[in-house]
């Protein structure tokens, strides 16, 4: 067996187990962490297919950014386990239909020879110096420049919308603008006044006053 095959089976075993873990884990945090593991192993399998750019961006975008925020949200939630399982039977039909659909697609791919999928040409073998990143960049910024810009624009709109939906001014906030704080100088805060020394005179009325207090 070749070394790459060993690596492939290693990664895909963990991937399948992790994917099962996402569905079967009782605690949502565990499910999210299993999903992270699944993404990571999927990235590894893409690396084996010499699609290094896709593999690394999968890890960078999904594992490094999306899932971190996901984990944040799930950790902050107050999870009621009984309510989580409540809707199981009502969701079952939809889930079952999706499951059957997925299974059918997998059979199509895995049973390729029976469905004539092997008529598709195999990808060309590439040289060791071949840079997947460079090729992708060339195609993305020449042939698909406009769709690419469009996708970027849609993402920007989504981002602005998300921010404006959640933005609310808190009225009771004691927030002080950091710029004014950073602009503070000693001269604006402290004033040294020069004055003559004051001598404390013994006060005869004060002493009698103290007696009065004691007397009462």
């Amino acid at each position: 067996m070749e070394f790459q095959t060993v690596v492939f089976y290693f990664l895909s075993t963990i991937l399948v187990l992790a994917a099962l873990g996402v569905v079967l884990a009782r605690h949502p945090i565990h499910a999210v962490l299993y999903l992270v593991l699944a993404f990571f192993n999927a990235g590894g399998i893409w690396l084996l297919l010499s699609a290094e750019f896709l593999a690394i961006s999968l890890v960078m975008v999904y594992v490094g950014a999306v899932m971190v925020l996901f984990l944040f949200v799930v950790m902050m939630l107050d999870i009621d386990f009984a309510r989580l399982r409540e809707g199981f039977w009502s969701y079952l039909p939809v889930g079952a239909v999706l499951g059957v659909l997925l299974a059918f697609e997998m059979i199509l791919v895995l049973g390729g020879p029976y469905f004539g999928l092997d008529a598709m040409p195999a990808p060309e073998a590439v040289a060791a110096s071949h840079s997947n990143t460079r090729e992708l960049g060339k195609v993305l910024y020449t042939e698909y420049a406009y769709p690419f810009e469009l996708a970027a624009f849609v993402l920007l709109v989504a981002m602005v919308a998300a921010v404006s939906l959640t933005l609310r001014k808190r009225r009771a906030s004691k927030y002080i603008d950091p710029n004014t704080q950073l602009a503070a100088h000693r001269e604006g805060r402290v004033e040294l006044v020069k004055m003559a020394a004051e001598k404390e005179e013994p006060d005869p009325t004060a002493a009698s006053g103290a007696d009065k207090v004691v007397g009462q």
Binding site: F3, I29, V36, M60, V63, G64, A65, V68, L69, M75
Partner: protein, 349 residues
């Protein structure tokens, strides 16, 4: 030598790539761990001198065996797992903290061709690996089942995610002007230009045309490693030791090792990307690994210097610096660099 390697390779058969990679990893990691250990010693000594103290001077001559003694002490301490914690994840936390900070070293070149994996997408790999460092912190904070640890983890991850953005934009500027993601190529591309042709190599390095990015990268690097003055993560006056408050013995030591390995990583990355890596600053001195070591040591000194100099930032100021100062600055400079590259005054043709 090759013949001996061949015969060993034949003995291991299909497992040879695995064995050979493991050998290379050990050859890299053992000196790295020694560097980490002596980084803690250097930190205590240097900050000691800055504060007019002596620093560790009891164990061995000049206190040189202090890191060894510390390591032994931590090894023999009991690992306490809190009763209500999530046991599996509690142990996984420190492992996930140190694994990426060591894995990142796979693509770091130490000299022309001296690198474990000379991959084309090296810079992307580094971005990806350093972006998963945050998991160790989050998992540790959550699994400890303690409010202090959880708050610390929240602070740490918010800070790391924020500064990663400006770090990434600074890297994009570097890869634009060197038009490569391969770290070796990035270093070699700094050996071209007016300065290199006139024997003044240091004028051709990336730090000069990318001066704002160089500073942003260095400061973001300090913030990314949660070092002073950005160490609100373990602000002892507020949240004790942050996400590692419940950890003891070796589990705590793993967080500690990860932090120092990350410091060395950020320093060596700054040296490679902005200061020409192993290239010599002047024409009449030969290039070599010693230059890279020297530059890295300088940045490590800057880390310690900053810690001994600045008071801790307030949390909202950290966020403001990351989002409202660095990100606009990097975006503007990215635009400037792209226009500069396309203009007739481009110096990277």
């Amino acid at each position: 030598m090759d013949a001996i390697l061949q015969s060993i390779a034949g003995f291991f058969g299909p497992l040879w790539p695995l064995v050979w990679s493991l050998v290379k990893i050990v050859v890299l990691l053992v000196p790295l761990m020694i560097c980490v250990a002596y980084m803690t010693y250097a930190e205590r000594k240097i900050i000691g001198f800055m504060q007019e103290r002596i620093g560790p001077n009891r164990v061995g001559p000049l206190g040189l065996l202090q890191p060894i003694a510390d390591a032994l002490k931590l090894l023999f301490k009991e690992v306490i797992v809190p009763g209500k914690s999530n046991k599996g994840l509690y142990i996984l936390g420190p492992i996930l903290a140190i694994a990426p900070s060591l894995a990142a070293w796979a693509v770091i070149p130490f000299d022309d061709g001296v690198v474990i994996a000379n991959v084309n997408a090296g810079l992307l790999y580094l971005l990806a690996i350093t972006s998963i460092e945050v998991y160790g912190v989050i998992i540790a904070g959550w699994a400890s089942n303690s409010k202090y640890a959880f708050l610390g983890a929240m602070r740490a991850s918010a800070q790391m995610v924020s500064y990663e953005v400006s770090l990434g934009f600074a890297l994009i500027c570097v890869l634009l002007i060197s038009s490569s993601l391969n770290l070796t190529d990035i270093v070699i591309s700094q050996d071209k230009g007016w300065g290199a042709a006139h024997g003044l190599g240091f004028l051709s390095w990336n730090w000069l045309p990318l001066l704002p990015m160089f500073l942003v990268y260095l400061i973001s690097g300090i913030a990314e490693t949660n070092r002073a003055p950005f160490d609100v993560v373990e602000g002892e006056a507020e949240i004790v030791a942050g996400h590692m408050v419940e950890y003891s013995g070796m589990t705590f030591a793993l967080f500690f090792l990860a932090e120092y390995a990350n410091m060395i990583l950020v320093s060596i990355m700054t040296a490679l990307l902005f200061l020409g890596g192993w290239l010599s600053p002047v024409g009449f001195l030969p290039d070599g690994f010693h230059w890279l070591a020297l530059k890295t040591a300088f940045f490590l000194f800057v880390f310690l210097w900053a810690r001994a100099t600045f008071p801790r930032f307030r949390y909202d100021h950290i966020m403001r610096l990351g989002w409202k100062v660095f990100i606009p600055l990097t975006l503007i400079w990215l635009f400037v660099v792209t226009v500069w590259m396309m203009s007739p005054w481009s110096i990277w043709k």
